[in-house]
C-alpha cells in the first residue's frame, strides 16, 4: 500500500466521520466544528490531487471565513440544543433507509463506471497556469462574481438591519 493511498484513506475516514458527527450531534456549535473538520480533511485531499491553490482557498475561505460566519450567527442567536419534535412522521420512518439508498446508489454507480475512467497522471498544477486560465478564458464570469458578491453584501446588510 503506497503512502498516498494511506493518506487518502485516513483523511477520507476523517471526512466521513466529521459528516456523520454533523448529523448526529445536537448542538449546532458542535455540528459547525465537525464541518470544519470535514473541510480541513478535504483540503488535504486537494493537496493529494495536486490542487495546491484550491487547498489554500478551501482553508482560508471555507474553514476560515464562511465557518466563522456560521459560528458568529450561532453565538449571536444563542442557538442551543435541537429540540425533538414529532411533527414529521415521514422523515422519522423513511429518512434513514432513503439516505442509505441514495448514498449506496451513487457509490455503486460510480463503482460501476470506474473501469471506464482514465487514471490520472498529471503533476501538481501550478498556480500560474490556473490564474492564466482564470483571467483569460474565464475573465467575464470572474467579473460577474464580483457583482454577485456586491449584491450579496447589500442584501445581507438590508436583511439584517434592525428596522426591517
Amino acid at each position: 500500500m503506497s503512502v498516498e493511498l494511506i493518506v487518502f484513506f485516513a483523511f477520507a475516514a476523517i471526512a466521513v466521520a466529521g459528516a456523520l458527527a454533523l448529523i448526529l450531534l445536537r448542538e449546532p456549535i458542535h455540528s459547525a466544528l465537525a464541518l470544519v473538520l470535514v473541510m480541513m480533511s478535504i483540503a488535504v485531499l486537494y493537496l493529494l490531487l495536486g490542487a495546491e491553490f484550491i487547498a489554500a482557498i478551501q482553508i482560508i475561505v471555507y474553514a476560515g471565513a464562511i465557518m466563522v460566519l456560521f459560528v458568529f450567527v450561532i453565538m449571536l442567536l444563542n442557538a442551543g440544543e435541537e429540540e425533538r419534535t414529532n411533527l414529521s412522521r415521514l422523515a422519522h420512518y423513511a429518512g434513514i433507509p432513503l439516505g442509505i439508498f441514495l448514498t449506496g446508489e451513487l457509490a455503486w454507480f460510480i463503482h460501476g463506471v470506474a473501469g471506464k475512467l482514465l487514471s490520472a497522471h498529471a503533476g501538481a498544477v501550478s498556480t500560474r497556469e490556473l490564474s492564466t486560465l482564470l483571467f483569460r478564458s474565464y475573465v467575464f464570469p470572474f467579473e460577474a462574481t464580483s457583482i454577485l458578491i456586491l449584491i450579496a453584501i447589500l442584501g445581507a446588510i438590508v436583511l439584517a438591519k434592525k428596522e426591517f
Binding site: L22, V38, I54, L69, L102, H121, L148
Partner: protein, 100 residues
C-alpha cells in the same frame, strides 16, 4: 497513485450524508451547514475530474462555487437572523406561517 474513482465514491458518500443532514436536522443553521457539505462534496468531484482529464477548468469552477457559497452563506444567515427575530425559534418545523 490513488484511483480517481475513490475520490468520486468519497464525494458521493459526503453528498449523501449532506442530503441526510439536510432532511434530518431541524435547526435552520445546521441545514445551511448541510448545504455547505454538499457543495464541498461537489467541489471534490470537480477537482478529481480536473486531475483525471488534465484540464484546469474544473479547478476554476471550484473557485466560482466557493464564491457563490460565500455569497449564499452571507444572505442566508441574514435571513436566518431575521427569522429568529420574527418567529422566536430556529426550528424549521415551527416556522409554519405559510403552511395551510
Amino acid at each position: 497513485m490513488v484511483p480517481i474513482s475513490y475520490y468520486l465514491v468519497l464525494s458521493a458518500i459526503l453528498f449523501g450524508l449532506g442530503v441526510v443532514a439536510f432532511i434530518f436536522k431541524r435547526n435552520i443553521i445546521t441545514i445551511f451547514m448541510a448545504i455547505e457539505l454538499m457543495l464541498n462534496a461537489v467541489n471534490l468531484a470537480f477537482v478529481a475530474f480536473s486531475r483525471m482529464l488534465g484540464q484546469l477548468d474544473g479547478q476554476v469552477f471550484v473557485l466560482f462555487v466557493i464564491v457563490v457559497a460565500a455569497a449564499e452563506a452571507a444572505v442566508g444567515l441574514a435571513i436566518v437572523i431575521q427569522i429568529a427575530r420574527n418567529q422566536r425559534t430556529l426550528n424549521v418545523e415551527r416556522v409554519d406561517t405559510l403552511k395551510f
